[in-house]
C-alpha cells in the first residue's frame, strides 16, 4: 500500500539578489495514514518552507523546486493551482502560527467554516451551518451557535486557534499540517490546543505533521520526529528512539538548551553558540560543524549523508555521532 504522503528529495530554492537561498535542500520523508510526524528545528532551518512546499502554497515565480511530493501516489508538485484547490481543505489542511492573521478579520467565523463545506461537500446553507456549529462544539468552543455569528476579534487567541482548527477539520482531511500552532499562545492555552489536536487526530484517524521549534511540544505527542537544520533533515527517528538514542549532536544541543523545570534555579543552560549558516552560501561539509562541540576536520570537508542507525527507522547525518565511544575517543 502506498503511504499517505511521501516526500522524495524535495528541493525549494528561492531566487534572491544575493543568489539562490537553499531553504529546503533535498528532504525525504514519509507519513503513513493516521500517524503523527514532528518536524523540529530553529528559525531559518527550513521547516516552515518545507510545510508550505508540501502544501503547494509557495509562489511560482522566483522559486526553484525539485523532487516529488506524492500524496496517495499523486505528485502534487505537478498540479495546477486549480487542481490543488480540490486538495486543499478536502484532503490536506493546514493550521498556521498566528490565528489572527490566518482568519479573515471582516468575515464572521461561521462563514469562514461553511465556505469550504459548501465548496467541497456541496452542502446547502442550513446543513453547512449545522455542521459548522457541530465543528465549533467539537473543538471546545462554548456557545457555538452564538460564536458562529461573531468576528475573530471578539475571541481570545486560544479560541481563535480553535476556530482555525475547526476550519481545517471541516472537510475531514486525511492530512493536517500544523505549523507552530501554539507558538503565539500562553503555556496553559498551548497545552489545551495540543490536547485538542491530538484528540481530533486520533478520533478521525487523520495523519498530522506538527512543525515546531520546541522539542518539548513534540515529545509526548508524535510517533516520529524529523530534525531539520539549514534546509536538511539531519536526524529522523521514532519519537522514543530519538530521545533515548539520539545520535546527531544538533539534536542533543537542541534538547540541552531547553530550561527544565526540575533543574535547580540558576542552572546554566547549554546554549548552542553562534547562528545557523547563511543558506545562500552554505558551508561545505556538515552544515552544523561550525557550532558543533564535537566537530573534527572531516566534518568541514565532507558532508555526511543520512545514514541508518541500528534501530529500524532511525537515520542520522553525522560522522561522529553522539554515544559512539569508539568514534569519540578517536
Amino acid at each position: 500500500m502506498t503511504p499517505l504522503l511521501e516526500v522524495v528529495d524535495l528541493v525549494t530554492h528561492f531566487v534572491t539578489e544575493r543568489g539562490l537561498a537553499r531553504a529546503v535542500d533535498g528532504v525525504s520523508l514519509t507519513v503513513e495514514r493516521g500517524r503523527t510526524l514532528g518536524i523540529v528545528g530553529e528559525s531559518g532551518s527550513g521547516k516552515t518552507v518545507l510545510a508550505r512546499s508540501i502544501m503547494g502554497l509557495l509562489p511560482r515565480a522566483g522559486v526553484r523546486r525539485g523532487g516529488k511530493v506524492l500524496f496517495e501516489g499523486q505528485d502534487l508538485l505537478g498540479l495546477s493551482d486549480r487542481d490543488l484547490r480540490d486538495i486543499w481543505g478536502a484532503e490536506i489542511a493546514m493550521v498556521f502560527q498566528d490565528p489572527m492573521t490566518s482568519l479573515n478579520p471582516v468575515v464572521r467565523i461561521g462563514r469562514q467554516i461553511t465556505e469550504s463545506l459548501r465548496h467541497h461537500l456541496q452542502l446547502g446553507k442550513a446543513a453547512a451551518r449545522a455542521r459548522a456549529i457541530d465543528l465549533l462544539a467539537s473543538v471546545g468552543i462554548p456557545e457555538p451557535a452564538r460564536r458562529f455569528d461573531q468576528y475573530p476579534h471578539e475571541l481570545s487567541g486560544g479560541m481563535r486557534q480553535r476556530v482555525t482548527i475547526a476550519i481545517a477539520l471541516a472537510c475531514g482531511p486525511k492530512l493536517l499540517l500544523a505549523d507552530e500552532p501554539t507558538t503565539a499562545l500562553d503555556v496553559t492555552v498551548q497545552s489545551q490546543i495540543l490536547d485538542l489536536l491530538q484528540a481530533q487526530q486520533r478520533e478521525r484517524s487523520m495523519a498530522m505533521i506538527l512543525v515546531t521549534h520546541d522539542l518539548g511540544v513534540v515529545a509526548g505527542r508524535t510517533d516520529e520526529i524529523a530534525v531539520m537544520y539549514a534546509g536538511k533533515v539531519v536526524e529522523r527517528a521514532p519519537t522514543h528512539t530519538l530521545f533515548t538514542e539520539m545520535r546527531m549532536p544538533y539534536t542533543e544541543s537542541l534538547l540541552a538548551s531547553i530550561p527544565r523545570i526540575e533543574q535547580p534555579s540558576h542552572t546554566r543552560l547549554r546554549a548552542i553558540t553562534g547562528r545557523p549558516p547563511d543558506l545562500v552560501h552554505p558551508p561545505t561539509g556538515c552544515r552544523f560543524a561550525a557550532r558543533c562541540p564535537y566537530a573534527q576536520p572531516r566534518c568541514v570537508e565532507e558532508e555526511p549523508p543520512l545514514m541508518p542507525a541500528p534501530t529500524p527507522g532511525h537515520h542520522y547525518a553525522c560522522w561522529y555521532p553522539v554515544g559512539d565511544p569508539a568514534v569519540r575517543a578517536g
Binding site: 500562553d186 497545552s191 538548551s257 523545570i261 526540575e262 534555579s265 553558540t273
Partner: protein, 363 residues
C-alpha cells in the same frame, strides 16, 4: 487566588524595590458609566538587592502592567512603589526623570523596541547622550564599546549597522546593552525571551545571568513560562487576573506548589521527554485548566481563580483569600491550598519576621 495582603514582604529597609497595594485601572467605554479594567488589584511584593524576582502568569494577568507601573509608565491608580529609598508615585516629572537611569527595562519584541533608522552604536549611546555623561564623544564610544562587548557583540562590526541587519537574539543583546549602559540598579525584563527560539532563548538567559553578576543587578523577570522564570529567579510570584496567588523561593515553588493555579502552570509545561505524558510535568498528574480567563472589567468575587479552580467551594466566592505562610518563606492566597493543610494546622502561632509581631499562620 485573588490574594491581597502584605505579610510576605521582608523588612522594609532591606528591599531595593517595595511595591505595596499596587492598583492599576484603565477606563473602558463612556466615562459616565465609570467602568474600569481592573488590570492590577492590590498587589504587593519586594525585591532585595541582588535578587531576581520572577513574576509569572498568563496573558492578561497584569504582569506587564505591574512592570510598567513600577516605572511609572503610566503612574499606578493607587498604591506605593518605593525604589532605592524613594517613593516614586509622589515624585514630580523632573525628580522622577532623575531616578529613571537607575531602573531600566527590556521588552518582549527586540526588533520593534529598537529604532529601525538608527545605527546600533547610536541606539546604545543614546542614554549616555540624554544624561550628558562625562568624557564627551570618546568617553561615550568607550562605554558603548565596553557594553557591546559585555553582551557579546563586536563594536567595530555592529555599531554602524541598523537593527534589521541583526537576528532577534542579537537585537535582544542590543536592547540589553542599551539598558546596561547607564549602570542601572534594577532591570525589569518583560517577556525578554518569549519571541525567541529555544536555542537563542538559552543564550539570552545565560547572558542575563552573566550581566546580573557583572553589573550587580537586581532583576524583576516577567514571563509566562514557568520553566524559564524558574531558571533565572531566586523567588517567584505567581499572578492571576490582577492578583498574586503564591510567592515562594523558586525551588520550593516547584517542589511543593500550594496554589491550584501554580499546579496548573507547572503541569502545562511541555516536558521534553517522551515518557512524561502531557499534563504530567512535575511528577504528578494534574488537571489541565479549563475555560477562559474571566473579564478583568467584572472579575469574580472572592478568589478570582475560583471560576476555573477544581477545588473551589462556597467560601471562595464569599471571601477573598489573603496571602499566608504555608512553609518557610512560602506564601499562598488560597482557602484550600494543596498539600499544606496538615502543616498549617500543626504550625499554629509563628513569628513573622516582617515586624508585625506574633500572628496566626492562617489569619
Amino acid at each position: 487566588m485573588a490574594g491581597s495582603g502584605t505579610a510576605h514582604l521582608r523588612a522594609e529597609g532591606d528591599a531595593l524595590l517595595r511595591v505595596e497595594h499596587l492598583v492599576v485601572e484603565f477606563p473602558v467605554g463612556p466615562a459616565r458609566r465609570g467602568r474600569v479594567v481592573h488590570a492590577v488589584s492590590d498587589v504587593s511584593f519586594d525585591v532585595l538587592p541582588g535578587e531576581t524576582l520572577g513574576l509569572v502568569g498568563e496573558s492578561g494577568c497584569g504582569k506587564s502592567t505591574t512592570g510598567r507601573a513600577i516605572m511609572q509608565l503610566p503612574r499606578p491608580t493607587a498604591g506605593s512603589v518605593r525604589f532605592d529609598g524613594e517613593e516614586l508615585t509622589h515624585l514630580s516629572g523632573e525628580v522622577l526623570r532623575r531616578v529613571r537611569p537607575r531602573m531600566q527595562m527590556i521588552f518582549q519584541d527586540p526588533i520593534s523596541s529598537l529604532n529601525p533608522r538608527r545605527p546600533v552604536g547610536d541606539i546604545v549611546a543614546e542614554p549616555l547622550r540624554v544624561w550628558g555623561s562625562d568624557g564627551g564623544d570618546a568617553g561615550r564610544e568607550a562605554a558603548v564599546r565596553q557594553v557591546l562587548d559585555d553582551v557579546g557583540l563586536d563594536y567595530d562590526s555592529a555599531a554602524g549597522r541598523r537593527p534589521h541587519e541583526f537576528s532577534g537574539g542579537q537585537c535582544q543583546r542590543i536592547s540589553i546593552a542599551r539598558a546596561l549602559v547607564l549602570n542601572p540598579k534594577l532591570l525589569i525584563c518583560d517577556e525578554p525571551v518569549s519571541a525567541l527560539d529555544v536555542s537563542v532563548q538559552a543564550q539570552i538567559l545565560n547572558l542575563l545571568e552573566d550581566m546580573k553578576a557583572r553589573y550587580g543587578l537586581t532583576v524583576l523577570f516577567i514571563a509566562h513560562d514557568l520553566a524559564v522564570v524558574k531558571n533565572v529567579s531566586d523567588r517567584i510570584a505567581v499572578m492571576y487576573l490582577g492578583k498574586l496567588c503564591e510567592v515562594a523561593p523558586s525551588d520550593e515553588l516547584y517542589r511543593a506548589p500550594a496554589h491550584p493555579y501554580t499546579a496548573v502552570l507547572l503541569a502545562s509545561i511541555p516536558a521534553p521527554d517522551p515518557d512524561v505524558r502531557p499534563g504530567m510535568a512535575g511528577g504528578a498528574a494534574r488537571a489541565a485548566l479549563s475555560g477562559e480567563l474571566p473579564s478583568p472589567v467584572d472579575p469574580p468575587s472572592g478568589c478570582r481563580f475560583r471560576t476555573r479552580c477544581p477545588r473551589a467551594e462556597e467560601r471562595c466566592a464569599a471571601e477573598e483569600p489573603v496571602l499566608r505562610e504555608v512553609g518557610d518563606d512560602h506564601w499562598v492566597a488560597c482557602h484550600f491550598p494543596l498539600g499544606h493543610t496538615a502543616r498549617l494546622a500543626a504550625s499554629g502561632m509563628r513569628w513573622d519576621p516582617g515586624g508585625v509581631g506574633p500572628r496566626r499562620a492562617d489569619d
